[in-house]
């Protein structure tokens, strides 16, 4: 089956945007819950969510405030922010509008409904009361799309590029979340370390790995085991190692994959050798920074090999 480079690129980005919307919905939801559990005065700031998105400059230059309302508006409904949930859903749909012919009809319908839902409800979903329902809907509908992809698509190049986008985005989000969270905790010097486990539980929840973590490791949760689990548990689809491994497998089925595969192998090895046990917060920060850069380099490889007009 022929797959045009342009179509492949749009599928890849459709999938990245959907995963980003789902990831932000999960993180925001977990964070809202966490805030309610923490005693007054010990809250981590809302700005943390902006840092996860890497959107601090846009946020500040657009004149948003670091209040709950301001931050949530920016994350959920703002179209100024290319990574807001609304903007991601919109971009995912735009990418699909011109590639819908290679995908089953139900996928287009579902994404279209998701877009309409988001357009109609996003701006009323900033308040705590409506937020929960909205974020759950976004997560559930994105999951539905993942399910449709898994159960209706032929295992051809279309499927591979969708999967590449999906896995690469998740690896990227997870490493951002862990990086920002750890930096924030390290800088706060909290008086009551009992809340640490609450924060790590919430983080694991945010990344969708809480249930499997408990079964694999146990109910006690601390920074080291949570970070290790989310980075390198090979059996959990929420771990970065799992994502990179999936990418490696999909790359192998594509032509001219060597450069991209080398890059993925490099990331895989560095994560495989990683152990949070032996690290200071500072060391961890530089490790996660490096792995984010490596993931972004992998994205560039994929672009160069399969999407750019230069490839012939």
């Amino acid at each position: 089956m022929i797959l045009l480079s342009r179509v492949a690129e749009r599928l890849y980005w459709m999938s990245r945007y959907l995963e980003r919307a789902e990831g932000m919905a999960r993180v925001t939801n977990a964070y809202t819950h966490l805030i309610m559990d923490l005693p007054k005065g010990t809250e981590v700031e809302w700005g943390m969510l902006i840092n996860i998105m890497g959107a601090k400059p846009t946020f500040e230059s657009m004149g948003y405030n670091y209040t709950e309302q301001g931050t949530l508006k920016f994350i959920i409904a703002s179209l100024d922010n290319a990574s807001s949930i609304s903007a991601c859903i919109k971009a995912a749909r735009e990418n699909m509008r011109t590639t819908r012919d290679v995908l089953p009809h139900e996928i287009w319908e579902t994404i279209n409904e998701l877009h309409l839902y988001c357009k109609e409800t996003a701006s009323q979903s900033i308040s705590r009361r409506n937020r929960y329902e909205f974020l759950n809907q976004i997560t559930a509908r994105c999951q539905m799309l993942n399910g449709l992809v898994m159960t209706t698509l032929c295992r051809d190049h279309c499927y591979r590029f969708i999967k590449l986008g999906h896995l690469l985005e998740r690896a990227d989000i997870n490493s951002r979340v862990l990086d920002v969270a750890l930096a924030s905790i390290a800088s706060r010097q909290i008086e009551n370390p009992a809340f640490d486990s609450l924060i790590w539980a919430s983080l694991t929840q945010a990344l969708g790995a809480m249930g499997t973590y408990r079964r694999a490791v146990g109910p006690m949760i601390d920074a080291t085991s949570a970070i290790n689990y989310l980075y390198k548990e090979p059996s959990s689809p929420r771990s970065i190692l799992f994502c990179i491994n999936g990418i490696r497998n999909d790359l192998k089925a594509l032509k001219q994959h060597q450069k991209a595969l080398d890059q993925a192998d490099k990331i895989y090895q560095s994560i495989d050798q990683f152990d949070a046990q032996e690290m200071t917060a500072k060391q961890f920060h530089s490790f996660s920074d490096a792995s984010q850069k490596a993931v972004s380099e992998l994205n560039n490889c994929i672009y160069q090999i399969w999407f750019s007009a230069q490839h012939r």
Binding site: I2, L4, S5, D101, K255, Q256, A309, H311, R312
Partner: protein, 435 residues
């Protein structure tokens, strides 16, 4: 209404250009089918095939021997002044002498019961997907009717189109690589481009997806590397086709594609330059072309046409403008025309001025009494004017769709049926009457 729901379900939409932005809207569909007897249609089909033969002979002549001008049948000035005449195509003759591989010819039925050709759309005619969708909707909404009548099916169009295109392939391979070239999602007919590509099982490409190498071969960029392209069904205007040859500012074209075409490494349908016969001044000479090239009498009527570039005709048009339909020679889609009997005095005046300023650019025709058909309007059945656009495929042989796209003017008394001007459409039935 059930039909409207079915249309929304099937996702049929088309885009209307407005000053603000592109909007998708449902194409108004009238559920009452328009019927034509198979006997009448067989005659029209012969007329259309004959016409297509003559038109393609003419285009080939324009860019090669120019016999028809040398023999004084048509003045060459008419062609030279036509913006759709492309000197870049001089000296080339595509396979089978076929230039306009897909032609949408607009027909009307006059009060004498005969079909008249209003115009031939030889550039990038659209609407065929609506013909197919309309039939689907009718089958869904009125399945019982198909039990009692013998209605000729239309759904093999994509197969016929595929065969026509495949026969043009410069390489003799089992499955030539065919693509549909679209300007992109913002084009009013994007839906149709995608529809045709999907129905033929070929790729829908944009200009950026293609490139021409130094050996003048066309490739598309795929994730498996370059893939050689044999036939391009282009749905972009030729002015934007190749920035090396036509408009240099075109962002939607493919640089070098004309080189590849002239080197016969790729077939382009419709061939660049076909539009020369799409001109409304040239239209008036089609009966002469049929006699000249085929030594036959026209089997289908043209509408008598006054050419404003001729002094006598111009005089007549200026004096009788309120009785005539005045059309710009090179517009399509019903833009910029005047229906004299429906125009105001001010509009008549405006068109007189336009004609005097640029007589070559205008033609006029008597206002025909277009036939009407029962149409469902706000809960009542009322007569509305309509036309018919059959599609003619011209490759190694010539094939005409059974029926075509019937367009209906939904406004009472209106004669303008174009979708861009608020017209609607109907399913068209060619019915075997069993005689």
């Amino acid at each position: 209404m059930a039909a409207e729901l079915a249309i929304r379900d099937m996702g049929v939409s088309f885009t209307v250009y407005t000053s603000e932005r592109n909007i998708d809207r449902d194409w108004p569909f009238d559920i009452i089918p328009r019927a034509i007897s198979a006997v009448d249609w067989a005659q029209a089909t012969q007329g259309l095939q004959q016409r297509s033969r003559a038109l393609n002979r003419f285009i080939d002549d324009v860019y090669n021997n120019k016999k028809i001008f040398k023999d004084g049948i048509i003045p060459f000035d008419v062609v030279r002044d036509c913006p759709n005449y492309k000197p870049q195509c001089e000296g080339f003759s595509p396979r089978y002498g076929a230039w306009a591989h897909v032609c949408g010819t607009d027909l009307v039925r006059h009060q004498d019961g005969k079909f008249y050709v209003l115009e031939d759309n030889l550039r990038v005619p659209s609407g065929v997907s609506y013909m197919l969708e309309n039939r689907e909707v009718t089958k869904r909404v009125l399945p019982e009717l198909f039990e009692n009548y013998s209605i000729i099916p239309v759904d093999d169009y994509p197969t016929r189109l595929y065969e026509t295109l495949a026969a043009l392939s410069p390489r003799s391979v089992k499955r030539p690589c065919i693509v549909v070239l679209t300007p992109g999602i913002f084009n009013s007919a994007y839906f149709e481009h995608a529809f045709l590509a999907r129905s033929m099982g070929v790729e829908l490409v944009e200009g950026d997806d293609l490139f021409v190498d130094t050996d003048n071969q066309v490739f598309m960029r795929t994730v498996d590397g370059p893939e050689r392209v044999d036939v391009i069904y282009r749905r972009i205007d030729e002015d934007f086709l190749d920035p090396e040859v036509f408009r240099p500012d075109s962002k939607i074209g493919v640089p070098g594609i004309m080189r590849a075409w002239r080197a016969q490494n790729v077939a382009i349908a419709n061939a660049p330059g076909s539009g020369v016969a799409d001109d409304k001044v040239i239209y008036s000479y089609v009966p002469d072309m049929i006699r000249y090239y085929l030594q036959e009498e026209p089997l289908i009527n043209s509408v008598p046409t006054y050419l404003c570039m001729n002094a006598d005709d111009r005089q007549y048009v200026l004096e009788n403008i309120e009785k005539l339909v005045v059309k710009p020679a090179n517009e399509s889609g019903g833009y910029g025309l005047l229906v004299g009997p429906h125009g105001t005095v001010r509009e008549h005046q405006k068109f007189r001025k336009l004609i005097e300023e640029n007589p070559r650019n205008y033609i006029a025709q008597p206002t025909l009494q277009l036939s009407t058909a029962p149409t469902y309007i706000n809960g009542e059945v009322k007569p509305r004017h309509l036309d018919l656009r059959p599609f003619i495929l011209h490759g190694s042989d010539i094939w005409v769709t059974p029926g075509g796209l019937t367009r209906v003017a939904l406004t009472e008394g209106s004669l303008v049926v174009n979708s861009s001007q608020g017209g609607g459409s109907k399913d068209t039935w060619i019915v075997e009457t069993g005689q």
